[in-house]
């Protein structure tokens, strides 16, 4: 009887901890509010559901999401604090907690602190720099740019050699980086922001270096930057007027969804069956098998995260000054592609970890279940038999529930960053940004009167969530 109580307790524990709620469903209302530009409502909804949406281990996501919504709501000072807190937690969570790692071996990856992806760590400084510029504090924006620089330098030290090898190898036989190989270590968006701020200070050398680093981002990470650099070299030191810089963000960053996989065992072999519904309603399957000291006949399910791009309806972005079209902002950074590629890099590790965990946990659980059934049957009483059978079923359910995909990712970064520069005479201009889709105008963002003057970054940013 004591065995059954213990197992029941264990089952409840697994179920309760394994219940990482379907965040994507809960976020739907917040997403809808954000998409119609009602960021204050989105923030209220997030606050009301905070405990459901974010666990204690999701502090980075909580502050990133809140920081971005506050940024778009124009509440820049609050946004700064949230993004700074996210940054502090990312630093803190660099140190892996072995205790959590041990729990995650028993349960799933959500038992670990979410430490943020590299791109999230960089973009939070980009948006904080934009926050400070909006607060008319270029010195603090400069601090953010220097933080970006330090972080990119660190990433470059880690990942550059491989990518530089790809870029240097010229010719048809040259190996090309493929998804899963490219590490994001240099952001053209971040470098452009640095260029604009250095240029406003009259620091031509640093502006030039930022431009060259931007060019490197395109050259060394071709799978992340397959498009041309929209910023010309002459923007380092324009001679014929004052540059107005426009950053226009569109769309929504990708989210993660769960794919269900099954594991079947043969003698000394584990077979992973990948099933996924496609647009035609078909269920294509992939098989993967590897040798593993195991008995035949085990069967259990587990989940893996997959990334779903949310993209943007926007096809063109037009910039107007005093009602006159200056031109179109061009794609500078495909932020969703960077998120996707980053995810792809970690995917094999997540896959192996999940398969091994699910296999070991499944075997242990099913053995325990069988033992319970046998113990129940051996008791000779109907109640004992029933308790054994229920215990076995509960163990199966608990194991299935605990093996959930880690779907955590920031949700309110944009999908695309577009940039454009136009040289104007000093003065005040009414700046409007028009977001156009295949069927015409989607959204006009009236930024009001903007002073374009020497010694100022003259950088405006705009956002359309569609």
């Amino acid at each position: 009887m004591r065995v059954r109580y213990c197992l029941l307790g264990l089952t409840v524990f697994f179920v309760s901890l394994g219940c990482t709620t379907t965040r994507n469903t809960l976020f739907l209302e917040i997403d809808t509010a954000a998409q119609r530009g009602d960021f204050d409502t989105a923030l209220v909804l997030m606050e009301q559901n905070e405990r459901t949406l974010f666990s204690d281990r999701d502090g980075v996501l909580l502050h990133l999401d809140r920081g971005m919504l506050l940024h778009f709501a124009g509440r820049h000072r609050e946004s700064v604090l949230e993004l700074q807190e996210a940054e502090r937690l990312i630093e803190e969570y660099f140190t892996l907690q072995l205790r959590q790692a041990a729990v995650s071996l028993l349960l799933n990856d959500t038992a670990m602190n979410y430490a943020g992806e590299d791109f999230e760590d960089i973009y939070l400084n980009v948006f904080n720099a934009l926050n400070f510029l909006a607060l008319n504090d270029p010195e603090a924006a400069f601090v953010e740019v220097r933080r970006i620089d330090n972080k990119l330098n660190l990433l470059e030290t880690k990942y550059r050699s491989l990518a530089a090898g790809f870029a240097a190898a010229d010719g048809f036989d040259a190996p090309q980086p493929t998804p899963g190989e490219t590490r994001f270590y240099n952001s053209a968006l971040a470098r452009y922001l640095a260029l604009v701020i250095y240029r406003s200070e009259g620091n031509v050398d640093s502006a030039r270096i930022s431009f060259e680093q931007m060019e490197n981002a395109f050259a060394e990470q071709p799978s992340l930057y397959p498009h041309p650099n929209p910023i010309a070299r002459k923007s380092i030191e324009p001679t014929d007027g004052i540059p107005l810089s426009v950053l226009a963000f569109s769309g929504r960053s990708p989210i993660k969804r769960a794919s269900t996989l099954r594991i079947r065992t043969e003698r000394n072999r584990v077979i992973v069956i990948v099933s996924q519904e496609d647009d035609m309603g078909l269920i294509p399957s992939a098989y993967l098998s590897f040798e593993f000291p195991v008995e035949a006949g085990y069967n259990f399910r587990f989940e893996l995260p997959r990334m779903e791009l949310r993209g943007s309806e926007v096809t063109r972005i037009r910039v107007l000054a005093d009602g006159r079209e200056l031109g179109e902002a061009q794609l500078l950074e495909d932020m969703q592609r960077i998120a996707y590629e980053t995810f792809q890099v970690s995917r094999p590790i997540v896959f192996v970890r999940s398969v091994v965990r699910a296999t070991l946990k499944g075997i242990a659980g099913q053995r325990a279940g069988r033992a319970m059934e046998e113990a129940g049957a051996a008791s000779g009483s109907a109640i004992g038999w029933l308790a054994g059978a229920i215990g076995a079923i509960a163990t199966d359910i608990a194991l299935d529930q605990s093996e959930q995909a880690d779907l955590r990712i920031s949700r309110f970064f944009p999908a695309f960053a577009h940039a454009g520069e136009w040289v104007l005479d000093p003065g005040t201009y009414r700046i409007e940004i028009e977001y156009l889709g295949p069927r015409g105008l989607l959204w006009r963002d009236d930024l009001g009167n903007i002073d374009v003057r020497p010694g100022s970054p003259n950088l405006v940013s705009s956002f359309f969530n569609g």
Binding site: R2, V3, C6, L7, G9, L10, F13, Q84, R88, E91, F94, T95, L96, Q97, L98, R99, A101, A102, V103, L106, E139, A140, F142, V143, R146, R147, D149, N150, N153, L154, T157, K158, A364, A368, A371, M372, E374, A375, A378
Partner: protein, 204 residues
């Protein structure tokens, strides 16, 4: 068989309980002396601000410009602390650093001191208000401010070198003292603080 299941389940339950319990930590607060050096994150902190301000002012007051001025003018020089720019990669509250410098200067008793621009504006507005609102015998006169002989200003820079898990940050604080009349730089000093910040990749 039952015994083996019992022991397995017991061991698993015990492990899980231990893992949960080990996560329950309580917060403690200990009051410390202000002079005690405490470094938590490795960022610029109040200790850095206080030490640099004290060393800077000590150095400034032991250089020839002060003696030269006292001999020439037979009075203590009037100093104004201007802007200290933050050119580092951290959000440093330079106004606290400026206050530290001002405090060290005033407490030295060797220089006289006038308020910085933000305080000056507020005082001028108040003085103007007094002209119409205060009793005549208590009104502060207009145009009777003490002009500064020297202005101190500078910047905080930082250089970061990092690999995964380790970071060396060198802060360089530059201050200079400029003669208000001649624009002559009469004193300048640089103080560097270097910090090695190591963060373990894993902990329990």
């Amino acid at each position: 068989m039952i015994v083996r299941v019992k022991s397995t389940v017991f061991a698993t339950t015990l492990l899980v309980v231990l893992l949960i319990v080990s996560g329950c930590a309580t917060r403690t607060v200990t009051r410390t002396g202000l002079d005690e050096q405490i470094d938590l994150s490795g960022r610029w902190n109040d200790t850095d601000s206080r030490i640099v301000a004290r060393d800077m002012v000590d150095d400034a007051l032991n250089r020839p410009w002060l003696r030269n001025f006292q001999q020439a003018q037979s009075r203590a020089p009037v100093v104004l602390v201007g802007d200290v720019r933050n050119r580092s990669s951290e959000h440093i509250q330079t106004d606290i650093f400026i206050r530290n410098i001002e405090r060290e200067l005033i407490n030295s008793g060797q220089v006289r001191f006038v308020a910085g621009d933000a305080a000056r504006e507020a005082i001028r507005a108040e003085r103007l208000d007094q002209q119409t609102q205060a009793r005549p015998e208590t009104v502060a006169r207009l145009g009777a401010e003490t002009g500064a002989d020297f202005m101190m200003y500078g910047a905080v820079d930082s250089i970061t070198d990092a690999i995964e898990g380790q970071r060396v940050v060198t802060y360089q604080v530059d201050l200079q003292l400029v003669d208000m009349q001649s624009n002559e730089i009469v004193w300048l000093n640089t103080i560097e603080i270097r910090k090695l910040i190591a963060q373990p990749r894993a902990r329990w």
